[in-house]
Symmetry: C2
Subunit: 67 residues, 2 copies
């Protein structure tokens, strides 16, 4: 699952810690998601979606679907 977290965060001039605080998670969680170590849970994906005012589908890209 690809995502645009790093780019969106840059647009908002937020550090990983800033975003983590907004979302109520640890900085390591943001870092892990940005660097593709794991995908967020669905609830966290919703929170991220709201933080950037974008639908989940505009932030996360499930590259693993049948064409």
């Amino acid at each position: 699952m690809k995502n645009k977290l790093k780019a969106l965060r840059a647009q908002h001039h937020w550090s990983q810690q800033d975003l983590a605080t907004i979302l109520g998670v640890s900085r390591q969680t943001i870092n892990a998601i940005e660097n593709g170590r794991y995908d967020p849970s669905l609830p966290l994906a919703f929170q991220i979606s709201r933080a950037f005012s974008l639908p989940i589908e505009k932030i996360f890209d499930d590259e693993n679907h049948a064409t």
Copy 2:
């Protein structure tokens, strides 16, 4: 996290097993999600979204957000 799986499944006349097979997960997983025992992972949410041709936000409702 609320969801409309049961209703959507009914609209399509799919059993839990039918949907599970389409998604490539176990029937128990569908049952657990429908009955709120847990939320799907983000990748599975994407698959569900595609199975019903609906955005994730139209299927899942994160009731737990600040108003």
